[in-house]
């Protein structure tokens, strides 16, 4: 059988996400002995980022990747990590954390199953810091800086750090950095290179914001249930192996970008004192964002405190 994979990612992107998606597709054909294969519909040609969950659930495709932070209300439990910025885990740990949550608490699978979806793998983002157009050594230096904000957690964090949150669309961030409309944007090295922001912002502030989650490697639940047990097992194992492969490629990418930064691109990496970041976590705004998730988790019958303990420094 030929399964359809609908993704927002352009094939030509050449980043860890695109490269490992192709790896997964090849591996699936290999492990099923050529009995099954996946055809990928790249670049949002069939469904754009915000359309993917609905399209996947209705059977437009069998596989797809869901950018979880876009759907905090539709899938609040699976957005756990996104409500906790900063948090101490890196890419691989966040992926394994999500795997464990799905194995331990049925609420995580149920939330997706109620939307006719099934997650067989997890793709966290890289660890984020701040890319700035000027050096930032302490929290004092952040005072009054304009930092790009998006989503539901960053605005409060940026305010707590004494900076001004500025909402700028991803594709405009380059010009915004270049023309000092913003001074900083939260991002990781690989992504900064991908968007070429490092051409115009030359200071990477290594402030441990943590690796955000990320993308669900999801299936249409009916398509999954329609597979024989052997194929199901292959898919599930592939999801686990994917995380390892993805983290490996991402690390390579980050190392490569690090070299480029030391060389021609001339981006200076500045260590930010971790205790100064941790000092603001008790800020009321940040805590309110976290409490929103805790309340929802408790309402869903989850031991929120136990889960949240993993997200504390």
């Amino acid at each position: 059988e030929v399964y359809k994979w609908i993704t927002f990612k352009p094939q030509g992107a050449g980043d860890a996400q695109a490269v490992t998606t192709q790896w997964l597709v090849d591996e699936f054909a290999k492990r099923t002995g050529g009995k099954h294969e996946i055809e990928v519909f790249w670049g949002g040609s069939v469904a754009k980022t915000r359309e993917i969950p609905d399209a996947l659930a209705a059977g437009v495709g069998d596989f797809g990747d869901i950018i979880t932070p876009y759907f905090p209300d539709a899938m609040p439990m699976n957005n756990a990590v996104g409500f906790f910025i900063p948090q101490p885990m890196g890419t691989l740990e966040v992926g394994q954390f999500l795997e464990k949550l799905h194995e331990t608490y049925p609420q995580f699978k149920d939330e997706l199953a109620s939307q006719n979806l099934y997650a067989f793998g997890f793709r966290p983002l890289e660890s984020y810091g701040l890319l700035c157009t000027k050096p930032v050594n302490t929290v004092k230096d952040l005072e009054g800086l304009r930092i790009r904000s998006y989503g539901f957690a960053y605005p409060k964090l940026i305010e707590a750090l004494g900076a001004t949150p500025v909402s700028i669309a991803t594709s405009e961030a380059y010009e915004a950095l270049q023309r000092s409309i913003i001074d900083c944007t939260p991002i990781g090295p690989a992504l900064a290179r991908g968007w070429k922001y490092d051409e115009v912002a030359k200071y990477y502030i290594d402030i441990p914001l943590g690796a955000s989650f990320g993308h669900l490697l999801a299936m249409n639940l009916d398509s999954y249930n329609g597979m024989d047990d052997e194929t199901k097992a292959i898919v599930d194992q592939l999801g686990k192996d994917y995380l390892v492969e993805y983290a490996r490629v991402l690390d390579e990418d980050r190392a490569r970008v690090g070299e480029l930064w030391k060389g021609d691109l001339g981006v200076e990496v500045i260590e930010f004192p971790q205790d100064e970041l941790l000092a603001v976590i008790d800020d009321a705004g940040i805590q309110a964002v976290r409490q929103e998730w805790i309340d929802k988790a408790n309402a869903a019958g989850l031991p929120a405190d136990e889960i949240v303990s993993n997200l504390k420094f």
Binding site: A55, V60, R179
Partner: protein, 436 residues
């Protein structure tokens, strides 16, 4: 039936329904939706119908389209086009074909304030067509020169269509907008040459008018171009100083031309705000309806495998990459006859952009190249939106066939411009590379 043949059938159905007079958006949307239903089922097609309308329009980027249109309408109310036209006729009025040439140059300058090809064609039909016809210009030459001059507004920044390209391909919108500047100017010169050659071959098309202006009058007329120069300076300076982003430029331009319109009419009354706003939202609705329905069709085309097949065919060809450029151009010209520019971009870019990138072409260069291609499509029959607009705004002075007939030299000029872009890609790339 295989997916691929369903896809082919869909293409045929699309052409048939459009030719039978079904609204282009309905044809695209209906064939797209039924096509999807036949590929993946009714439920899945309904899910896509449920998301595509909201998700396409729930976008900060796309907000520039109504705002650029608003700016164009305010510029019209502020009389920017009228003033400019008056200034250029004083300088070029005595040249054979001078009125058509000054229309072209006026539209190019106006294009620096307007992002809409349709809007500019509307403005200059109102301003220039009566004057040209009164002075005995051939109807075909007069109307066609306006229809093609509208496309300059899309080449020269700001430009809603270039923004569409940037969004659809994830390219830098800032670079794209800057990149269009020199090609826009070069293309306006090429168009002037085309006019000059046309009237040189057949002088009867544009009778000479003996009307003398003193140098003093000529110099005084330059003052009239002042407001437009001001609009351009405000936008360029604002972008450069980091006061606003390219997306925000639409709002800034609209607000500024609104102020100019108020100053011109000494108050709000003459601005006809209500009428202007209604015109803006109707044109926006028309553009978005086409854009979204074209997306529906393009999803169907992608899922059927036709898109992948064409893309795979193009990338698989073991030929010189310029042969592929010619093939891609032919595809655009063929589809451009049938389709509207934003729709055409939305449908084809997922196929052609990766192909061109894999052949090593620059995304900014391809953006300008492809925008010129689809803008040529905006004047070619049977779906030549600029020609429709000129015809509608002419209040019965010209017929659609007359406009189409006059377009031959200008479409040839478009081809010449395409060749120039291929021979000298720096025309498009010089400015963005220098700005970096």
């Amino acid at each position: 039936m295989s997916s691929l043949s369903i896809g082919m059938l869909g293409v045929v159905a699309l052409f048939a329904t459009i030719l039978l007079g079904v609204n282009v958006m309905v044809a695209l949307g209906l064939v797209g939706a039924f096509g999807l239903a036949s590929l993946v089922g009714f439920k899945a097609a309904t899910a896509i119908l449920g998301t595509v309308f909201f998700d396409t329009t729930h976008s900060f980027h796309f907000s520039v389209i109504p705002l650029f249109l608003l700016m164009g309408f305010f510029a019209m109310r502020a009389g920017l086009g009228e003033d400019l036209f008056e200034a250029t006729t004083k300088w070029l009025g005595n040249l054979r074909g001078g009125l058509a040439i000054s229309t072209t140059l006026g539209a190019a300058a106006f294009g620096a304030a307007s992002g809409s090809s349709v809007g500019t064609a509307t403005v200059f039909t109102k301003l220039a067509l009566p004057q040209m016809l009164d002075r005995g210009y051939d109807k075909s030459l007069a109307s066609a020169s306006i229809a093609i001059a509208g496309t300059l507004a899309v080449m020269i920044p700001p430009s809603a269509l270039v923004v569409v390209y940037g969004i659809l391909t994830d390219s830098s919108i800032g670079s794209l907008l800057i990149a269009g500047f020199i090609p826009g100017i070069v293309f306006s010169i090429v168009l002037c040459i085309a006019i000059w050659l046309t009237v040189f071959r057949n002088p009867k098309l544009a009778p000479l008018q003996h009307q003398h202006f003193t140098l003093r009058e000529k110099l005084a007329s330059l003052r009239l171009a002042g407001p437009l120069v001001l609009v351009i300076m405000v936008i360029v300076a604002g972008l450069y100083l980091g006061i606003f982003t390219p997306t925000e430029a639409g709002a800034i331009g609209a607000a500024f031309t609104f102020l100019l319109a108020i100053i011109r009419h000494r108050g709000l009354k003459g601005v006809e705000l209500k009428k202007t706003l209604l015109e803006t939202i109707r044109t926006s609705a028309m553009i978005f309806a086409i854009l979204i329905c074209a997306l529906l069709f393009s999803k169907f085309l992608a899922l059927s495998g036709v898109a992948n097949a064409v893309g795979g065919y193009l990338t698989g060809l073991e030929v010189n990459r310029w042969v592929i450029v010619v093939l891609v151009s032919l595809i655009y010209l063929a589809l451009g006859m049938m389709m509207d520019a934003p729709a055409l971009l939305a449908i084809t870019l997922p196929i052609t952009h990766p192909v061109m990138m894999s052949l090593g072409f620059d995304p900014i260069w391809f953006g300008i190249f492809v925008v010129l291609l689809v803008e040529i499509g905006a004047v070619t029959p049977p779906v030549g939106i600029n020609c429709f607009v000129v015809q509608a705004a002419s209040e019965g002075r010209v017929r659609l066939e007359q406009i189409f007939r006059g377009l031959v030299p200008f479409v040839l000029a478009g081809f010449a411009m395409l060749i120039l872009l291929c021979l000298f890609p720096q025309i498009a790339l010089f400015l963005p590379e220098t700005m970096k």
